[in-house]
Amino acid sequence: MKAQEFQEAAGCTDEVLSTAHNCRHYAMCKVDFLGNGVCASGPQRGFVAFYPQGHMDLYAALRDGGAPVTSGALAVADSCDLCGKCDHQCYFVTELRPTRVMRALKEHLAAYLQAGGRVESEAEDPVLARIREIVGDQWATNDRAIAVTYSHDPSPIAVPKLPAYVVLPGSAEEVASLLRLFKETGIPWTARGNGSNILGFELGEGAIIDLNRMREMSFDEKNWSVRVGPGVSAFELQSAAVARGFRVHVAEPAALVLASIMCSGILSLFATSYGTSAEGVLDARFVAPDGSTFSMNQKQGPNLFAFAPAPQTTPGICVSADLKLHPKTDDEEGALIPCSTLAAGLELSRELAQRRIGFAVGVLGIEYVASFMAPTQELANQAKQVFGERLGMACLVLVLGDRYAMGSLKQMGHPLIDQRLFRTLNLGLPHLASAPWLDLLTQLALDEPFGYLKAEGFAELAETALAPSPQRLARAVHPELREFHEKLYARPELTDLVWLNMFRITSSRIGREKHFFPILLYLPLEAGLIEELCARFQAIAQSRGIKHEVGFLAPIDSGKRCIFEYDYYVDQCDAGEIERVREAVGAVAAVIDEVGARTGTLRWMRYVLYQGFCRMENLLYTEVPRG
């Protein structure tokens, strides 16, 4: 009896299945970024399958015939206590409600068993037995219902791959033993953090080595250092660092820190002052593919500091790293400076980096900002229209800094949205979209774009007009989630630009309307070059009917170079659109290779894979042969 036959018996609707199919695989349900806890079974059992993300994938696989009903599937369904925390987390990021999928999974399997369905067992496997000897029985499996939850990652254009084994080592020694075993048996392996890599590099048909159990985190404050295991997420590390009065340089909240460094270096607005790649690393220890170990500081070890502008193979698995701690001050603030052209935003960000104003600087696209500020997609669309079309913003430059940096910004004479006004706009967003007084701002901007932001008392007038409050913003969300959102937005950090960016919450909603594929480049911060690339990426997308937007840009190394992201959006359930984006990415590659050959200064992210521990200067300035 096949699982699909039980759809109706389980009371499933296509809407529930659609929710399951639309899981973005960001792993945000694995970190407590909203402060209300995470699904209890996940940390206890370790495998992705026991987190809400895995439940979603399993349910979709059972419904689609992609996995059999196994003992693992029953264990996954039983482990969920329908606490509803995943609804809060997933709604915040994607506006999806996974709890009904959790419920549907239970009902689906109950109906299957009641109808006499057979629970399949995996065959005896000598390799699995040897793996289990290394890590313990409970940390390795070949159960297809568990493995299927490792067959996806957040790349909307990656082809799913079902691994034969999933293993969760608990130490560097276990990792070394596993790699020796896989070398001996010829089993290909893929190391996986939280599976949140957005470029499709974490899938494999052999063994998946899930590093989530290796959660070492020990601070050495006198050396401004923290030792981190490969299972520590960005959010966890930043939380621990901030609690001790420090800050670390990390990627998106659910990304595992060492995996981020390995794959791409840390891409963030903080790269302006903290650099990227090896800049944030004091030392790191690796297990090589042959099971031997080495460290970055080892004189005779592999030279991970080198960078080559060509595809590389993995140097092994990073099993721990000592990362830099950065100081914080108690007067840190954020400000957004609207710009009427992208070129103006680029020039401003370059100037700020060159003058070392602010410890984090970035040019943010309007889609990026509107997506984050709005708790629903409908409101995000309205906000984008207001900021972009009615108020004439092409981009916003975000600056985080101390009071001296904020003073410098004001001295430079830029109209700016300060922390107070940002909070007002964010919590008053539902009123902003329909406010007649926007005409007043349009009038005020006729002779000086955004000149109203310089008027004394503008923030107070905006507060009067928008009546911002957590309650007002919460009215925009689903009625069942309003009470939670009222409490959530009453917390100051949810509208604090420094906190939101330090913990990388601002980018979490970028894929809410649709999944996205980022085109990531390191390149000179030159408006002409970036505008040329934007125009060509835009033309490629438009000719294929693909939604596209400037994502963000952050200056590095005093504004001499920058990280630049341009996004293509794709409906992950639309095979036609996925194919069009695949084609478009091919065309983008040709453009990057052509412009890279002409200028000798571009570094595409696909060449940075496995080289993220390289010296920053080697990454940014190594001469590339010109065409």
């Binding site: 007649p436 007084w437 000086e448 008027a455 008392g457 507060e463 007009a465 009546a467």
Partner: protein, 427 residues
């Protein structure tokens, strides 16, 4: 001499003094019979002054060639059709020709054959203008207001134009001038790039027209608002700009008092009086007492048509009011119209300890570019206009006229929604 009554409640429009009913009917009939009269080339026909002039010329049966550009996704033809729809006109295609042209390029950016085909004798009225004040727009303002003259005057030459009329502004004189005469101006200190570019353009017109032996006139209107008889307007800048801003600020506080408890309003001393009036303390600080020279569009139109009908070579005309408004009068009009009280005009330097409330701060920011006009002390001699149109006099802006114009503006939501339902751009 027939003059506007000061109350202007039932007075005749300046235009009606020129074109009595019979004449208008004859003009329409001529248009209907497709016997076009003299031909005019217009630039700026999609603008406030230009659209009114175009409509009246068409009503009189003249043929018009409108030069302009597409904008906002609409072709020139579509933009002009929207304007004419507002005027209730649907001219025959033989009477109105719209040509998309780039006034910054030789031969208007047209192919040689297309350009040659347009070169037919016609009177030129050049109204196209960039009216922005900000220094940041300097390059664009100079290009539009001065740079475009080369191609337009070349075209006038190639058309063997009998006359070239240039619409400038009364504010080409330095702010400290006392009496401004209808004479060429010397370059000096200007309040903004708009004034400077118009002054430069006047000098260019005079110089080039002399070289080309092309008779010219320069028309210098002051600040133009809607039709003083009907209140109608298809542009809501200048005077409207400030009234609308006050309305929006008023509504923010009314909403706060009505729906949000009013705590923010009370902090700024803003409250509602028992009779419903909003007490809105709003001090406007100006360097000195002056006046604002405002004229209605129907006066501009009547005077311009009179000048076009009997052009005097190489003459400058001031189309201005002899009775400019004081800021106190305008503040009082705004208070009455908007149901607010508390606008106070203060003269001199800002007090060192002045802490404006948010409404004051924003409104003072809003009027910043217009300050030179709010405390203006210039007066304008209009002897040349008096000589050609002694019966045409700008009416004093009374409250009934103000109310009529603003009521119309509110009815059409300051141009966002036109009365007939068609969208109409504010600017």
């Amino acid at each position: 001499m027939r003059r506007f009554l000061k109350s202007a409640g039932k007075s005749e429009s300046p235009l009606s003094l020129l074109f009595q009913r019979g004449e208008r009917e004859a003009a329409c009939s001529a248009a209907g019979n497709r016997h076009a009269q003299a031909k005019f080339v217009l630039t700026g026909a999609t603008g406030f002054l230009g659209s009114h002039l175009m409509a009246e010329l068409l009503r009189r049966g003249h043929a018009v060639l409108a030069l302009g550009r597409s904008a906002g996704g609409s072709t020139l033809q579509e933009r002009i059709a929207r304007q004419l729809d507002w005027f209730g006109l649907q001219p025959a295609s033989e009477q109105l020709q719209c040509v998309e042209a780039d006034l910054l390029k030789p031969h208007l950016g047209l192919a040689p054959a297309a350009y040659r085909a347009l070169c037919r004798p016609a009177t030129f009225v050049h109204l196209a203008s960039d009216t922005r004040f900000a220094a940041a727009n300097r390059a664009a303002s100079l290009a539009t207001n001065v740079g475009s003259l080369a191609a337009v005057l070349d075209f006038a030459r190639d058309c063997s134009a009998p006359f070239f009329h240039y619409v400038s502004t009364a504010y080409v004189f330095p702010a400290e001038s006392a009496l401004c005469r209808e004479e060429p101006v010397a370059l000096g200190e200007f309040a903004n790039i708009y004034e400077e570019s118009k002054a430069r353009a006047e000098l260019e017109v005079i110089s080039r027209c002399r070289d080309l032996a092309l008779p010219y006139s320069i028309l210098r209107p002051s600040i133009v608002y809607g039709d003083c008889q009907t209140g109608r307007s298809n542009s809501f800048t200048a005077l409207y700009h400030h009234v609308k801003a006050l309305e929006l600020i008023r509504d923010i506080y009314l909403n706060d008092l009505t729906n949000q408890g009013g705590a923010k309003s009370r902090l700024s001393g803003i409250e509602r009086a028992p009779d419903g009036t909003l007490k809105l303390p709003l001090r406007i600080v100006l360097p000195r007492k002056g006046h604002l020279n405002l004229i209605p569009i129907d006066f501009f139109l009547a005077a311009t048509l009179q000048i076009l009908s009997a052009p005097r070579p190489d003459t400058i005309y001031h189309l201005t009011s002899r009775t400019p408004s004081t800021m106190e009068e305008l503040a009082s009009f705004c208070e009455n119209f908007l149901g607010i009280e508390g606008i106070e005009i203060c003269y001199g330097a800002e007090p060192g300890n002045w802490r404006p409330n948010p409404a004051e701060a924003l409104f003072n920011k809003l009027i910043e570019p217009y300050r030179p006009y709010l405390s203006d002390t210039r007066s304008f001699d209009s002897a040349n206009l008096d000589a050609v149109a002694p019966e045409i006099v700008a009416p004093t802006l009374s409250y009934p006229i103000f109310e009529r114009c603003m009521r119309y503006a509110v009815e059409v939501n300051w141009g966002a929604t036109h009365r007939n339902g068609s969208g109409f751009p504010v600017r």
